[in-house]
């Protein structure tokens, strides 16, 4: 029997979530929904924050088993701050992503978690890195992940343009999250967005009733 229909359990072993990270002119926006669910039947938290700060200008968000993700990010946070102290300078985003990649690749049998790392550093400016399930590290201008991301591939491919302004990028990220949360039953709650630039980090929270609405709502 062919099972190639809308089965998010088979598409990737990610537990319910929608995460994304997009670079714009001068910074990067990383965003996620806020729902944690057990098996798609029970929402264990409506307001969980999946955006974890691993250093001053570097955030990461998780797709997959929350337990694995919390353990890995805790280890990664320690390693990155140690590295940053040794080097006496803020870490590169690529270094943070590499730390996560090493942890994911060396423990690939036991772990079921993928990461998106986004941040700003002095050398290359705003960057986005994906660490996939088996430990592959990939740099992209923008990336989407989690079970809800399948529904917005088309939207993201169509609407993304390089070098957007901060407002355009915020609108793009908010719309993408709202669309995914509208179609994926294991993504929902509020939209968490973090804007990272050279100047600093700004956390924007958009509650459910303020999210953009589309034609059938």
């Amino acid at each position: 029997m062919e099972i190639d229909f809308m089965d998010s359990q088979i598409k990737g072993v990610s537990t319910g979530t929608t995460i994304l990270a997009v670079t714009f002119n001068g910074g990067v926006i990383i965003g996620s929904d806020s729902r944690a669910s057990i098996g798609g039947y029970y929402v264990s938290s409506k307001t969980i924050n999946k955006l974890i700060q691993v250093h001053d200008r570097i955030f990461c968000c998780i797709a997959g088993s929350l337990a694995d993700a919390q353990a890995v990010t805790k280890a990664a946070k320690f390693q990155i701050s140690f590295h940053s102290i040794q080097m006496e300078s803020p870490p590169l985003v690529k270094a943070a992503a590499s730390v996560l990649k090493e942890l994911c690749y060396n423990n690939k049998e036991e772990l079921q978690a993928g990461f998106i790392t986004a941040g700003w550093d002095r050398k290359k400016g705003p960057q986005v890195y994906t660490v996939a399930l088996g430990g592959m590290l990939l740099s992209q201008p923008f990336t989407i992940g989690g079970s809800g991301s399948t529904y917005i591939y088309g939207y993201a491919d169509a609407k993304y343009k390089p070098d957007m302004s901060r407002e355009e990028c915020l609108q793009f990220a908010t719309n993408a999250l709202a669309l995914a949360m509208g179609r994926d039953n294991v993504s929902g709650g509020v939209a968490h967005l973090v804007v990272i630039t050279e100047e600093g980090v700004e956390h924007v929270v958009i509650p459910g009733d303020k999210l953009p609405k589309f034609h059938d709502e």
Partner: protein, 270 residues
């Protein structure tokens, strides 16, 4: 750790890894199909890929099947199942139309599909979108997904590639669009899905059904709408003498070790 290794071992020794997919897998229209209503008719579209596992059995399939003069269905799922159901419904609807002595309603066709899909739901794997025009209600789209539900929707997508375009469809569809806007929406959405879904591809087949008739078109691969994530495409009008400046203007660096014979392949794989 031990359990994972044992699982890997099991996979290595299973026989189906040796034989190619097309000897073991069923023919499937893993696909992307879409239908949109507008005032005066409907626009339907589909990709053109039929696969048996990883082999593309037909790269120019026509998944838009006429059921009656102004009623079409878009097929997704098992190719055999959907062809058989479409044949049965075509016969039933033709007979009904002769008895009635007038053109059948789209709702009738949709209910005939639902009757077959629901009665034999355990044996079948078919997701069908029925769309057409009739005198009573104008353009209508009915979707009959796997399992045999029937629901009318102004816009519907189906098939394995449809998951990738829900967001695009939700944000770009507005009620009361014109026929041309619908054609652009469908061809845009299908090309996005074909980019992301391995089981969808080939050409885009479109049909616009209205009172005056059925207008079919084919959009070939190189004519599809392009999006910004496709950073570099090669146009045959680029003068080969200027290839260096073309590369530099696209932001690529030129390394003297690149074999010039493979420059097209090199650019495409960047």
């Amino acid at each position: 750790m031990a359990a994972a290794t044992a699982m890997r071992f099991g996979q290595l020794s299973s026989g189906s890894d040796m034989a190619p997919d097309w000897t073991t897998k069923e023919v499937s229209t893993g696909t992307t199909i879409m239908a949109v209503e507008y005032d005066g008719g409907v626009v339907i579209g589909a990709d053109s890929r039929t696969t048996t596992g990883a082999y593309i059995a037909n790269r120019v399939t026509d998944k838009l099947t006429p059921i009656h003069d102004r009623i079409f269905c878009c097929r997704s799922g098992s190719a055999a199942d959907t062809q058989a159901i479409a044949d049965v419904v075509t016969y039933q609807l033709g007979f009904h139309s002769i008895e009635l002595d007038e053109a059948p309603l789209v709702q009738t066709a949709a209910n005939l599909f639902k009757a077959s899909c629901y009665r034999y739901r355990e044996e079948l794997m078919a997701g069908i979108i029925v769309a057409g025009w009739d005198k009573r209600r104008g353009g209508q789209v009915y979707t009959v997904p796997v399992g045999g539900m029937l629901v009318r929707q102004p816009v519907s997508v189906g098939g394995s590639g449809s998951t990738y375009i829900y967001g695009y469809m939700d944000s770009n569809y507005k009620p009361n669009m014109t026929k041309d806007q619908c054609l652009r929406l469908v061809s845009g959405a299908l090309s996005l899905a074909m980019e992301r879904d391995g089981s969808s591809g080939g050409v885009v087949r479109l049909a616009a059904i209205s009172e005056t008739g059925v207008d079919r078109q084919v959009i070939l691969g190189n004519q599809l709408p392009k999006w910004s994530t496709i950073y570099l495409t090669i146009y045959p009008t680029v003068c080969l003498k200027d290839w260096r400046s073309t590369l530099l203007s696209k932001g690529l660096e030129i390394y003297p070790t690149v074999c010039l014979k493979d420059w097209r392949y090199t650019l495409l794989s960047v």
